[in-house]
Symmetry: C5
Subunit: 99 residues, 5 copies
């Protein structure tokens, strides 16, 4: 999984039938550089993930990708490859608290 910040949302009316009603969030991965372990670095790519946990803009979340995303609650037969699987309370890196 990767950590990510919720930066937006996507609306798609015409989509695969099984995806009706699913909430689509735009995520920016948050990484930690070796030289600066006390802060996050924004990843370059932005990913669209399905969310069923109620994440909102600005939240730090945990998301998983690939077939594992279909193991998230209610996602079994959906054509999705990314899902929010946790809202993050805190992250600790080498003694620093980043979130």
């Amino acid at each position: 999984m990767f950590l990510a910040r919720v930066i937006g949302s996507v609306v798609s009316t015409k989509k695969d039938e099984t995806m009706r009603g699913q909430k689509l969030l735009l995520l920016r991965p948050m990484l930690v550089d070796e030289a600066k372990p006390a802060q996050f670095r924004a990843g370059a790519n932005t990913i669209v993930a399905v969310d069923t946990l109620g994440a909102g803009s600005g939240d730090l979340v945990l998301f998983c990708q690939g077939s594992s995303a279909r193991q998230a609650s209610g996602m079994k037969a959906l054509p999705i490859d990314a899902a929010v699987v946790g809202l993050v309370d805190s992250v600790e890196v080498l003694g620093h608290r980043l979130a």
Copy 2:
């Protein structure tokens, strides 16, 4: 999933038998840079995805990859690893509407 712009199409007559009749689109991923959240940035790689939703050149779409692409409508046993799963109506990023 990733957002992408439809930039072209691919014709392949001699292909895996199960893929007969499938429409193949060339997609360019569309990402959002942290410093410029009000516009898209074009991704470097171009991907071929199967489309059953009627996407056309210039459309902004949502596509999924890997085994999840085979969960799209009618794709169950096909040797495909990318499928268009939604036509995008709107994208909102940090208060900006990008599409």
Copy 3:
């Protein structure tokens, strides 16, 4: 899937038993830059894919990766993660014909 040019071949005598007799091609992905949509750009990585469609050196092909490669004809239980799934007749990008 990605577009790729067949640039070579690989011979492996000692291999997983299920792979006996499989033809292994070396592929170079072919991408399209946003600023130059009228021509292909060669990708940096070279991939080994199984081919059952009769592709030859110099051919432009479509290949798929991951578990989907095992959906290609005759590949069900093979330890392969890339397969040629189509020989490409033509590619059209923003009004340009690239192949």
Copy 4:
């Protein structure tokens, strides 16, 4: 799989129900450059993986990704795409012992 150093941990109270009680570690991949085979190089991305082997901060571990992570002990139906699968005793590269 990749080698990685455990650099931190993640706490998520609100998460997919199946993930309750799982320990989440933040990993930094450790790679070996061709020109410097006697030492590790830190990878740029940081990954969140589930751990059931008791890895702690600073440990060198082996982790796997994708659907294979769900083959780790007790992970069958979890929406996870990365798991620690081994604690590393030693790594030998071209005659050098790195760990």
Copy 5:
């Protein structure tokens, strides 16, 4: 699949139970640049793969990744995402023999 050179080995005593006795090799992917098709270029990342074919240090091998690695002989339920699936006898690229 990718071509790779065996550059080392990994020992892990405490690991997922199903992996007991598996031999873990460190691999460096070998790629071919478009401008220099007569020689290999070393990839930047180093990968740990399970080997059951008897590959040794310096050998050129073929490895597969993801769920397909579990299709290799004896790997069915293991939490592994990379396996050596062939020892390479020869590689031919645009008329050059690289191995």
